[in-house]
Symmetry: C2
Subunit: 209 residues, 2 copies
DNA sequence: GTCTATATTAAGATAGAC
DNA sequence: GTCTATCTTAATATAGAC
């Protein structure tokens, strides 16, 4: 593995674990047993490392949102999709944990992050609409747009929330609880004939929290 | 107004507007046209200013949660209560905007903030239960605990979310949209006879966004 | 590519005069 | 209580040897 890539990987790990603000270029170099000078040979500075990390995340996440044959997903597959999204966010969670601050200091990342969130809301809206058309969900007072926004909102802040109220919980539990939380937003809209499916899904996820 | 209080007020304003990280003790002093030395006469440092601000917030918010005769509120009064909560959070929004970072650096504040959030969830749960008992809401698959958690979650991250997707929106719109968002979480549970009330509330709030 | 040594900058904080 | 001047510390960044 090349030094450049090791820097990115080490930085990502430290940022996720300690918070971006609490990690200096010297910390990253120490963790890897290289000199700070060496790190600056590969990157102009911390800012440039963060930009590279964001570029990776943006590319991965965009692909995730586009690739899927969303309209054809079954109710069960939707949950798998949510699971995958949570995993991708978790991998780069420091962008979410320190969101306000990072997006304030790196305005270009801010713009791109915002675009990504909009894309996410759109995708989820499609997903909700496909469930409504398949008569799995009822089209009620609150439209699929509002529902999609609630789901997207949960995805955005789930990790900060867990870090706040449940800091010692492990990876699997956090993600299961997240899927459960989203499920709880959708269940009220489930049609009568699908209530049994919804209920069994709820109990499956609840057992794993 | 005493210098000590002016420092607190100026710091609060700057923290809310620029982000806590981007405001130094010198910035605060400059904004007030006093010297940094003077500021350090009144406070041991930035940390101590933040602790004082948190103490104010914690006291105000606790009182807000305890004071109210929650169980006796009508459906309409509930919305007023949400409004007041949003306003209190907005006043001290930097704790919410830079949550992860502040709570990581000031661990004592972290503990107290967490306690406050739990208290908030409990209060909202009581509120939901009272609505269920009054037959305004149905007791469905997802219990009042889960609903309360969804509402509390929305209150926690509404301002960071708005700053992200809607940075130029003004105070009133942001809070109205927040109340609408919470309303959208509750509406699916509204009993048939209350659907008309819910619907009119939704359209009232939607018009103001 | 990698190291050591060092320069630069800015925030945080204090001493002592008024 | 308030000011000016100054110190300390830590992060960021660079130069030059190997």
């Amino acid at each position: 593995m090349k030094t450049r890539d090791r820097i990115l990987l080490t930085a990502l790990t430290l940022f996720n674990e300690e918070g971006e603000q609490n990690v200096t270029t010297v910390d990253i170099a120490n963790e890897m047993d290289i000199s700070p000078g060496n790190l600056y040979y590969h990157f102009k500075g911390k800012e440039s490392i963060i930009e590279s990390l964001y570029a990776q995340f943006d590319a991965d996440f965009s692909q995730l949102l586009q690739q899927s044959e969303i309209a054809e997903m079954s109710l069960e597959n939707h949950w798998y999709f949510m699971y995958v999204i949570f995993e991708e966010i978790h991998k780069y969670r420091f962008f979410y944990l320190n969101q306000t601050d990072i997006l304030q200091r790196y305005q270009d990342i801010g713009r791109r992050f915002k675009r990504l969130v909009k894309q996410k809301v759109k995708t989820i809206e499609l997903l909700c609409k496909s469930l409504i058309e398949a008569n799995a969900l009822s089209d009620s007072l609150v439209g699929s747009q509002q529902l999609a926004e609630n789901i997207s909102f949960t995805l955005l802040y789930w990790f900060p929330y867990q870090q706040l109220i449940n800091p010692s919980a492990d990876y699997d539990k956090i993600i299961h609880a997240g899927v459960y939380q989203i499920l709880s937003l959708i269940v009220p809209y489930a049609q009568l004939e699908d209530h049994s499916i919804a209920q069994s899904l709820l109990s499956i996820y609840h057992a794993r929290i």
